[in-house]
Amino acid sequence: MENYIITAVVLIVILFALKNILFTNVNNVDLELEIDPETDSSKTDDVTVIRDFTPRELSNYNGFDLEKIYIAVRGNVYDVSKGRQFYGPSGPYSNFAGHDASRGLAMNSFEIENLRSWDQPIDELDDLTEIELKSLDGWEGMFKGKYPCVGKLVADPQFSK
């Protein structure tokens, strides 16, 4: 008699364990949470929205005031945060951070004199020589290939000519 009881108990336990395998319906994955941007937007926030920058707005993205480092080359603004060791504070090219670096790149000079500050109009680069423009072309190609373009540099009506 005892044996029967033990066997029955064991069987019930086994059946209980196998219940999932024998009787459960198909497993569903809840994508509601995944597809709704409002519930969790951590991933979509990684993507930078392309927009226009005035020199004044751009000047904040120097890796010091704001963590991101942007520089402008020929009207396009590039996110160079990946190259923080070059463009970040105390890096060799830190002068370029948050500035329109076109003239500096064309003249192969990192000096602050070749850069316009945010309260000056955008540099039109009219007086560059052919050699300087060629050098700028090379640099622009490098930026296009290496860093994402996050927007355009537009004139600030308050400080334009």
Binding site: V26, N28, V29, L31, E34, K43, V47, T48, V49, I50
Partner: protein, 490 residues
């Protein structure tokens, strides 16, 4: 003795308890973590638009799949359609018999097809462009004319989808129309200088086999007819070029994981419902089959396959079909009580990611992969799991359009997830030859119209590409956090 067996039993149980999590993970076909990150996402996006999505095989920073990556000297080139035939004609090894091409009732060895293609090329040598009218499922012989123009004579094929399209004004001049005797009554004889029926033409050729194919893959690829194909549907001509074909073939074949890759023993069965893109699909799939040196490529009219049991004589089968046909085949099969119980259990394990074949309806069925083109209504993930369990085969769901060669979206071959919200349909991730984005109606939703850009897109007057070459599709959907595109059922 009994003490020893108790100890062993206890040890086994303990081992099972400790190893359960490890085994449960290892036995899955794919780690769910991988399914949660299926695309490469661009770093920037425009306002009111989603980021640009690509397959993880071709992440941002490298080019999307352009071509077959053939070696010529020290350089890599994309290849052309003639290379497809060159690959197809290559020896499959001494032990294997040559590829068999089955077009409806007719069966050929690839060398015999080669002879026929040369004969057809000779016959049409005086014409510049060749028009074709007829459905490839109903008259598969027309495929030979397409191949002949692609591989041998290097002429432009203009394919007319319907009777009304024959009258439409198109850019590419067509003087000769090849059709099947079934469609003779549809054709107005004044529109074309000459109309040729394919059946009497084929009967004039001898059944000879030849391996002769004049093409040097190291030199001749420079001089090919770039505009090789035009498809006329709804009065619009879409022009397709060599790169459209090679990029989509390469993106399809290179996206198959090595454990599932097509081998020389595999057989391919193609069967599509007539749609505006079915003829393009059939041509595309046969080209993929030729490049892969498959054992057999067969075109079957969907009316001739009534249930899954009819597929069982073919071993190791790659089945290219659409959602309508697959649904019909799977729901037509009758099951006993025991079979439906097994099927349900199989569905349960498949939905967890443990791929199994014990729910298979017919023991002799050896399907390897089923490629399903999504028609309306599309194959839902629940239905796909059911078909997967019933056929014991992996299923890849693909989305095609009228203006691309090959799919623009495909699901991961190992994707097992069943979407709980039945109003969402998993459409998949971008094919390797294209990139996609959604353009939203407003900023608060990720739902939008899909735009596509890439190598497999044809050119058409009705397609308007913007400055960055994006082309609008009629698909509405949204990218979820797993990187897959989901469509919304109305």
């Amino acid at each position: 003795m009994s003490a020893l067996s108790t100890v062993i039993l206890a040890l086994i149980l303990a081992a099972l308890v400790f190893l359960y999590n490890h085994l449960a993970r290892e036995l899955k076909e794919i780690d769910p973590l991988l399914l949660n990150n299926q695309t490469s996402i661009s770093e920037t996006r425009k306002s009111c638009e989603s980021a640009i999505y690509r397959s993880v095989d071709v992440p941002h920073g490298v080019s999307v799949t352009r071509g077959l990556n053939l070696r010529s000297g020290y350089k890599i080139r994309d290849g052309c359609l003639k290379d497809v035939w060159y690959c197809g004609m290559k020896n499959r090894g001494d032990k294997l018999k040559s590829t068999e091409i089955v077009l409806g009732d007719m069966s050929f060895k690839i060398e015999e097809v080669n002879y026929i293609l040369h004969q057809i090329a000779l016959k049409f040598s005086n014409f510049e462009n060749i028009g074709i009218y007829g459905d490839l499922m109903e008259s598969p012989e027309l495929l030979l004319v397409v191949w002949s123009c692609f591989f041998i004579s290097d002429k432009t094929v203009v394919y007319f989808h319907s009777k009304d399209d024959l009258k439409s004004k198109i850019e590419t001049p067509v003087s000769v129309l090849v059709t099947s005797s079934k469609y003779k009554s549809d054709i107005d004889s004044t529109s074309f200088n000459e109309t040729i029926e394919i059946e009497p033409l084929l009967s004039t050729f001898d059944k000879e086999a030849t391996k002769e194919f004049k093409y040097d893959p190291n030199k001749d690829f420079h001089h090919v007819n770039n505009h090789s194909f035009s498809y006329v549907v709804d009065g619009n001509e879409t022009k397709f070029f060599q790169i459209n074909f090679v990029s989509s073939i390469a993106s399809k074949l290179l996206s198959i994981p090595s454990t599932k890759s097509w081998t020389k023993d595999d057989n391919m069965l193609i069967s599509y419902t007539k749609t505006t893109f079915s003829n393009n699909n059939i041509i595309f799939e046969t080209l993929c089959g030729l490049v892969s040196n498959l054992n057999r490529i067969e075109l079957v009219n969907p009316d001739n396959i009534l249930n899954l049991h009819e597929l069982s004589p073919l071993k190791s089968l790659i089945f290219c079909t659409d959602s309508k046909i697959l649904k019909k085949l799977c729901t037509n099969s009758k099951k006993s009580f025991w079979q439906s119980f097994k099927l349900q259990r199989s569905e349960y394990f498949n939905s967890l990611g443990y791929f199994n074949t014990f729910g298979k309806i017919d023991r002799s069925l050896t399907l390897k992969i089923i490629y399903v083109a999504q028609l309306n209504p599309p194959l839902s993930s629940l239905m796909s799991n059911f078909c997967k369990s019933l056929t014991g085969s992996s299923i890849v769901r693909e989305v095609y359009t009228n203006f691309t060669i090959g799919p623009i979206l495909k699901t991961n071959i190992f994707d097992f997830r069943i979407v709980q919200n039945r109003s969402l349909t998993l459409l998949g991730v971008p094919a390797n030859s294209v990139e996609l984005k959604t353009v939203n109606v407003d900023e608060n939703t990720n739902q939008g119209v899909i735009y596509v850009r890439g190598m497999s897109l044809g050119k058409s007057g009705s397609l308007h590409a913007d400055d960055e070459f994006w082309v609008k599709t009629d698909i509405i959907g949204g990218f979820a956090r797993d990187g897959c595109l989901y469509g919304y059922n109305k």
